[in-house]
Symmetry: C2
Subunit: 312 residues, 2 copies
């Protein structure tokens, strides 16, 4: 039997057929038009599920259940708040069930990624796993004794909004000094942009100029050339990431932290973080070592994790 | 049947006889002489258990099991690190079991307090409860879906060492800017002391002078007189406490936060904290309300919580 994992993004919806080992055996995607409302979106998901199954030589009879990864807050079967899609208290599971006549489960997308990494990815074999995704924001997922931490009505797990520098940079959430404002890759890009403006003759500015602009790789090209400023910028960024990871370590003391997001592929990010955390977390080295590893799945984590909502 | 809850402090050990409703029906205490080592301490605990039972007209046959609240890290049956008692990887449960021939359980004392408040105190009836004790440090205990969060080898739950002001005040743990340095009652006393030094003619200094010195009540006497500076000092302190509580809210989104420590008896502390947290925690007011209440048990939480290690 197979499970369908549906990763609902702000721009597109991906549906994957996943077997009980977490392997995606086929997938399809469709474009999201959020303005059309929840019911049209769910109709689109139902069509996508059928199309995906058909394109892979299966029928819906081969599907045990469907899991939905939702980019917002999910309380049981209801998407309580999804700003990108304009959903409020939308009974997404019930609506899809009516169209596909299969059991439907839903969960927050960051939590889905944590499930995927825990069951089949970098966190496999551990009971206490923290997943931190560094992207345009910072997403967190916490597996505590083999169970996903949801919080009251599914509204917990917002670790990116820990205050680590009170009175610091303004965050979209309304507060100042949230971890996300320092640890998101956006923050690294801001630092690179500032460096280019401040040191137009520097190596980083030169690389940006040669490439017609800067992006997430600019700093790493400069590091490859041994540029001192690039090293300082990376070190500051890693220390800022570590602040939140230390806080999470002290509260959860997980066995392993899985770092997601494109930047986690950089050995120069993940290894130093492991050292920083184990040097600084509470207990002066007496407490158990915390492994830090890059995520296994990248973009597939959403589909695999969504299918796990149905599988476990 | 009864349970014995043993609260092992740095100065004294208290033993209470607790019934299955969490009611202490009798207690005794003894003085700790930590230098004598673990075995002598455990012998003292065994004697204390027998004395307590006898003094209340019972025998050890009336006792089902014994729970120990330990002021350090506990991994299952072993106290892995208790700095005040000089214990390292000390098999405290096994040692006591040999002397009393009863099942013995052990847990960290802050976690015991959380258990007590959750099962029989301010957090009764809720599944997601956070206990924060404001004392000379800041202790935390987290009940997640009706289960105590322990972390790998019992070494989690050190929320007092969340960094909230990176680069801020130096903490005993070796880092700077830990929540404990701002939210412990010690921090409030530091602020009062600084105020007395800076404004020797002010109301706070006058009250301290009249009382032959300052203590935890000095600020509240000044507040009773409507002193503006006292209001500012309290407001700063509450905002600092709220920083950590907001972080905990965003991660756990508990139904209720229970505030322990002597200062939690002050309505002027607990009520404003409830407002600050619900105004500032993630979700712009859409997420479920977080109740904040003072702890029910005070000093008895240790005994009741320790007995719960045996009871649940």
């Amino acid at each position: 039997m197979y499970y369908l994992g549906v990763d609902i993004g702000g721009m597109s919806i991906k549906c994957g057929i996943v077997d009980e080992n977490g392997v995606i055996i086929g997938e399809k995607r469709t474009i999201v038009t959020p303005t059309t409302g929840g019911d049209d979106c769910v109709k689109g998901i139902a069509d996508l599920c059928r199309d995906t199954v058909k394109a892979n030589g299966l029928t819906m009879d081969d599907v045990t259940a469907i899991g939905l990864g939702v980019p917002g807050t999910v309380d049981g079967e209801v998407a309580t708040f999804v700003s990108n899609l304009g959903w409020e208290d939308y009974p997404v599971c019930q609506k899809l069930k009516e169209l596909v006549a299969k059991p439907v489960y839903a969960g927050n997308d960051a939590n889905c990624a944590a499930l995927a990494e825990w069951k089949f990815g970098a966190g496999k074999g551990y009971d206490n796993v923290v997943m931190v995704t560094l992207g345009t924001g910072v997403g967190t997922g916490f597996i505590v004794e083999g169970k996903l931490l949801l919080g009251n009505k599914g509204s917990g797990s917002e670790g990116g909004h820990m205050i680590i520098k009170a009175g610091g940079k303004k965050c979209n959430c309304g507060l100042c000094g949230c971890w996300e404002r320092y640890a998101a890759t956006t923050a690294l890009l801001e630092a690179v942009e500032a460096e280019i403006a401040n040191c137009p003759q520097g190596a980083i500015a030169q690389i940006a100029k040669d490439n017609g602009g800067f992006d997430g790789k600019t700093l790493f090209y400069a590091l490859d050339k041994g540029d001192k400023r690039a090293q300082e910028i990376l070190q500051n960024y890693l220390e800022d990431i570590s602040l939140g990871l230390i806080n999470i370590s002290n509260i959860f003391r997980p066995q392993i932290m899985v770092i997601g997001g494109g930047i986690s592929k950089q050995e120069r990010v993940v290894k130093p973080l492991e050292h920083l955390i184990n040097d600084c977390a509470y207990g002066n080295g007496r407490n158990p070592y915390i492994i830090v590893r890059p995520a296994t799945f990248g973009n597939d984590a959403g589909i695999i994790g969504a299918s796990l909502l149905a599988l476990i």
